[in-house]
């Protein structure tokens, strides 16, 4: 019998979403909590649980796909050891000088362009003589003799990874390849990233930084992916494929070679999941909004297909890679609320994330967050997916200081916070749409993620959007998206029954709707109905 199941595991910040899809469209899914700093082990545990629950044998499994925020988080946190750079002579400061502009116009003290000491401190930036010109011709030979000293210094510093960036290597990679060969001859276990392979395009700063970040991620990515592949092999499961930022999947060892292409793995999978699910129910452009605990991601589907771009930003660092075109802002359920001197309400950028989480989660967080405001407004169910029982009193206590500083009663304070959150998301949405020549008023808004449907209708109101769709499986849509690789042949997902069982099939806001893995807010002036394909549609009254 041919293998009938595909498995997918999406590692997020809080949970691993595991989904099994049979070739007749049947879906089994679960959320498995992430514990501590373990990476590969937790993924395998989630898949073990899923297989046990659904009675899937290793021999029934045709493929295993994995998407991961591991590289995203690594780039946000920058806790890995620094890397060494080998750059064209005279250019060792190019990655530090960046593009010479500054981000915050009015901050009196100008922040560095990037955290040099964490990424590639001065003593680890080496130069080498040799030039390629703008036509790709060698105009000065490479000085290979310099590499002995560089290899000694790299070895002495205990550096595991090196990025090589030479001018015009995108036109002629020979010098960069020669540098790698010489380094490997001396240090066979050194991880080396070449700018001519990671991002073969002109403009040296962007190419070199992307390459440096690729090298930065390599040691951890290699350890992690090897461990995962070994564990799956031990269970007789197929070798994993990885979800790339640019859509589609690739064999895991490709990502060991170039881990930077995992930077937007998860968000891209979610977008692909929506694209696979929405094909029959939307006409015209769709704006997808994915709200989680720490961020809100916004993207477009044009003719039911994800849109792509060649540049992304991660933790403020520009990365030039083909990638799903997603705007990410740091607003989510865990965003911390503050009041500036002068009485100005602000949300974020600080987030309590999943740990210690909002005060209402009762996990030790005591700072006021967006989720605490939702709790106070009775827009969250008493018990969340994953089993968290909300502590309303803790939420009220946390919001007390905010209410005091604003001079507003508690419920009005909570309303102000939720309105500010919707406004943040709506502005990001408007900017994303208008810059791509789409008036958002002409689009439908698709809500996914744990918090998408909570804010979608209010966001739509601000942006002039009249219709919101809440996808079935919204909370595990990324894992489903990994199995919707267009190259692998599309499996039409079967809508599972029971998802919205607890809901009346239609009604009018204001009303909070609680389903098993999704919470929905229907504001005044909006109505809802369940469509035959198990999508929940929210509509603004004329």
């Amino acid at each position: 019998m041919s293998p009938s199941w595909s498995l997918a595991a999406d590692m997020g910040g809080t949970f691993i979403d595991a989904v099994a899809l049979r070739n007749d469209g049947q879906i089994v899914s679960l959320k498995h909590p992430r514990a501590g700093g373990r990476l590969a082990e937790t993924v395998v545990e989630a898949l073990d649980r899923l297989c046990a629950q659904a009675g899937i044998e290793a021999g029934d499994v045709g493929r295993v796909v994995h998407g991961s925020t591991v590289i995203t988080n690594l780039l946000l946190e920058l806790n890995e050891p620094p890397v060494a750079l080998v750059l064209t002579r005279g250019m060792r400061d190019v990655p530090v000088l960046a593009r010479q502009d500054r981000k915050e116009l009015y901050e009196p003290v100008i922040a560095p362009a990037l955290p040099e000491a964490k990424l590639f401190p001065g003593p680890l930036r080496f130069e080498i003589r040799g030039r390629i010109d703008a036509a790709g011709r060698e105009v000065e030979p490479l000085d290979l003799s310099a590499l002995d000293a560089i290899a000694d210094a790299v070895n002495a510093a205990g550096v595991r990874a090196v990025a090589v960036g030479l001018l015009f290597s995108h036109l002629n990679p020979n010098h960069e390849r020669a540098v790698r060969a010489a380094l490997h001859a001396r240090l066979p276990n050194l991880y080396v990233s070449l700018s001519s392979e990671v991002d073969p395009q002109p403009r040296e700063f962007e190419r070199w930084l992307t390459t440096a970040l690729d090298a930065y991620a390599k040691p951890l990515a290699a350890d992690y992916l090897h461990a995962l592949a070994d564990a799956l092999a031990a269970r007789g499961l197929p070798a994993p494929r990885l979800m790339r930022s640019s859509g589609g999947t690739a064999p895991w060892h490709d990502l060991v070679e170039q881990p930077i292409s995992l930077a937007m793995s998860g968000p891209c999978a979610a977008l692909q999941g929506v694209a696979a699910s929405i094909s029959t129910c939307a006409s015209g452009p769709a704006i997808v909004m994915d709200v989680g605990g720490t961020s809100a991601d916004i993207s477009l589907l044009l003719e039911d297909r994800p849109t792509f771009t060649d540049a992304l930003e991660c933790g403020g660092l520009p990365i030039r890679q083909r990638c799903a075109d997603i705007t990410s802002i740091g607003i989510g359920g865990g965003s911390v609320v503050s009041v500036l001197p002068g009485g100005a309400l602000r949300l974020g950028p600080r987030s309590q994330g999943a740990w210690p989480g909002p005060a209402a989660f009762g996990l030790g967080g005591d700072l006021p967050t967006l989720s605490d405001a939702l709790c106070v407004l009775d827009r969250l169910p008493p018990r969340l997916a994953g089993g968290i029982v909300l502590d309303r009193a803790a939420a009220e206590t946390a919001l007390g200081d905010v209410a005091g500083a604003l001079g507003l009663p508690l419920p009005r304070t909570a309303e102000a916070i939720v309105s500010a959150a919707a406004a943040e998301m709506a502005e990001a949405l408007k900017t994303h749409a208008f810059q791509r020549n789409l008036d958002p008023a002409n689009a439908v808004l698709v809500a996914i993620g744990g918090g998408g449907a909570q804010h979608a209708a209010e966001v739509a109101d601000i942006a002039g959007i009249r219709r919101v769709l809440v996808m079935p499986h919204a909370s595990v849509i990324a894992a489903l998206g990994m199995l919707s690789d267009p190259d692998e042949g599309l499996v039409q997902l079967a809508a599972s029954d029971g998802l919205w069982d607890a809901l009346p099939p239609q009604g009018e806001g204001p009303h909070a709707l609680f389903a098993s893995m999704t919470t929905v807010w229907v504001p005044a002036g909006w109505s809802w109905r369940l469509t035959p394909d198990q999508t929940l549609a929210l509509e603004a009254k004329a």
């Binding site: 002579r89 005279g90 250019m91 060792r92 400061d93 190019v94 530090v96 000088l97 593009r99 010479q100 502009d101 500054r102 915050e104 116009l105 009015y106 901050e107 009196p108 003290v109 100008i110 922040a111 560095p112 362009a113 030039r131 010109d133 703008a134 105009v139 001018l167 015009f168 002109p202 403009r203 040296e204 700063f205 500036l340 001197p341 002068g342 009485g343 100005a344 309400l345 602000r346 949300l347 001079g407 507003l408 009663p409 009005r412 309303e415 102000a416 309105s419 500010a420 919707a422 406004a423 943040e424 709506a426 502005e427 408007k430 900017t431 208008f434 810059q435 109101d461 601000i462 002039g464």
Partner: protein, 544 residues
């Protein structure tokens, strides 16, 4: 309690403040983005030499794009200039007004400001405004920024506030005058159209914002302005009262050979501040004069730095009295030439920072080097093909009490990006031999000033011209609280034959194949004096 402060405690107003702030900020940014996408000239499209903002009908700034401070502040006098000539009652739906006259709210002639009233239900609810540095508005030299001008009449077409457009379209008479006076009429028309796109984007969005915010839109706007004023005054009130002066100088030029003094005095009392440029040099013959509209950009920049988290509106100007002595370099009389005002505005900005760094507020920074070197290289290849490119090279930032200054960064009212070396070598027969931090050029101190940068270009073919506009070849960015001054700028050519030629602050000079041009930009001021040896502070250190 002022009315607007009461608003903050009215739940119906308070609830709407943060959403409205975000919506106005987002709209202004999208006006800017739309203008840059639509612009024809690369100076606006790539370098972002343009700005957009929203105003209340009475001319108070409501929100501005996060773009170029050099131009943003100048939109305030431009809107005032339009309102003085065209009161609200005289405006009609679909109108747009144009000006560039430095004596009616303009800066220098290439910056054309456009203002559009936004109507809802027959009433002006706001004004959208945008300005953009145009390629050519006539005058004695292509580009309309002649370094040898000594009258505004030589700099191009001077436009007092006029109606450029009505609901019927562009006014043909105005259009024909503009087109007849520009060497690049297609660029002029195209870039004006880009400004118009920004204004219509702003109008469309603002009408949706007003509908969503509801009937109390005006009160929420007032509450946001009051909030910014409150936040700015709180910072001033927290700093000790005092009077602080600062003097700096612009390098001389071919026309005005001696250095030109800029003097500023800050008088801070309670929650109010006077910025007074008394003691600055009389207006000069050359084009370094800065109009009041240009100077407001420097003042607005500084006031915004006091409470950078506050809403982006006119509230930050409420505590300020700005004094610009008539007939001086910062408020010249007709017919002064004004096209090179950028260097003056930048230096003025850093003089304000220098004066403020003497206060014990602890929030100051030492003056930035503040040099945005403009380098235009051109020439002819061996096959006769002509080439040229222009770039802007940044200098060092000033140090502050807790941080050294950043090296090679656009500061104060500028924010230009550098030009990638691979772009330069693709467009011109040049080899860039280095782009590096000029270590040790920042001023010493407890915290070191930011270093300048070094860029070196070798000409590979034929002959060429170097047009160099630097600053701080003579003057230096002084340190604060006993910190040292940053190093001077230095520019030199190493001729193929071995001779070395140093360039003055403003130069036009020929070079030929094999010559190497090395530009080193100035360092920022240091912060705090190094402790004497007998009380050696372990934190004190010499700069690299």
């Amino acid at each position: 309690m002022p009315l607007a402060d009461q608003h903050a405690h009215d739940p119906e107003i308070a609830l709407r403040m943060e959403p409205l702030r975000l919506a106005l900020q987002g709209t202004a940014d999208r006006m800017q983005a739309g203008m840059m996408r639509a612009a024809v000239s690369s100076i606006a499209r790539e370098s972002g030499d343009c700005a957009a903002a929203l105003f209340l009908p009475d001319g108070r700034l409501l929100a501005q794009a996060r773009s170029l401070p050099l131009l943003l502040g100048s939109l305030i006098p431009a809107v005032a200039g339009v309102l003085a000539r065209f009161p609200l009652a005289a405006m009609s739906e679909g109108d747009a007004y144009l000006l560039n006259d430095p004596w009616s709210g303009g800066t220098h002639l290439p910056d054309l400001a456009l203002v559009h009233p936004i109507f809802l239900d027959g009433e002006v609810i706001a004004l959208a405004a945008a300005n953009l540095h145009h390629q050519d508005v006539g005058g004695m030299a292509a580009g309309s920024i002649p370094p040898d001008a000594n009258e505004v009449y030589q700099e191009g077409l001077r436009i007092p506030p006029v109606r450029w457009r009505s609901a019927d379209g562009i006014e043909p008479a105005i259009d024909s005058i503009l087109v007849a006076n520009s060497r690049m009429p297609d660029n002029l028309r195209g870039d004006l159209e880009a400004q118009w796109i920004a204004l219509t984007q702003g109008a469309r969005e603002l009408r949706q914002i007003v509908r969503h915010t509801g009937s109390r839109f005006k009160e929420v706007c007032d509450a946001l302005l009051a909030q910014t004023e409150r936040m700015t005054r709180a910072v001033l009130a927290a700093a000790p009262d005092g009077v602080w002066s600062w003097r700096d100088q612009l390098d001389g030029s071919d026309i005005d050979t001696a250095p030109v003094t800029l003097a500023v005095t800050l008088r801070k009392q309670g929650d109010a501040l006077v910025i007074d440029f008394e003691g600055s040099a009389p207006q000069v013959r050359g084009p370094l004069n800065a109009s009041p509209a240009a100077m407001l950009s420097a003042a607005l920049f500084f006031m915004r730095t006091l409470a950078p988290d506050a809403p982006n509106n006119a509230g930050c100007l409420a505590p300020l009295t700005l004094k610009l002595p008539p007939g001086s370099i910062v408020n010249p009389k007709l017919p002064a030439a004004v096209n090179a005002r950028t260097a003056t505005v930048k230096l003025a900005c850093n003089a304000i920072l220098g004066a403020w760094s003497q206060s014990a507020s602890g929030t100051g920074v030492a003056p930035h080097a503040g040099v945005a070197t403009v380098l235009a290289l051109s020439g002819t290849r061996m096959d006769g093909e002509r080439w040229m490119f222009t770039e802007i090279i940044a200098s060092g930032a000033g140090a502050s009490v807790n941080a050294s200054g950043r090296a090679g960064v656009s500061t104060d009212v500028s924010n230009a990006r550098n030009t990638p070396l691979e772009v330069i070598e693709t467009e011109a027969p040049l080899r860039v031999e280095c782009y590096e931090i000029r270590r040790g050029s920042g001023g010493g101190g407890m915290q070191c000033g930011g270093d300048g940068v070094r860029r070196a270009y070798r000409l590979l073919e034929g002959e060429g011209w170097i047009a160099y506009r630097g600053e701080r070849h003579v003057g230096r960015a002084r340190g604060a609280q006993g910190g040292d001054a940053g190093a001077n700028s230095v520019a030199r050519i190493l001729r193929l034959g071995g001779a070395v030629e140093f360039l003055p602050a403003r130069a036009r000079i020929a070079w030929s194949v094999g010559d190497l041009l090395i530009i080193e930009t100035a360092g920022g001021g240091g912060w705090g004096s190094l402790a004497p040896p007998e009380s050696a502070d372990p934190l004190a250190r010499s700069c690299p």
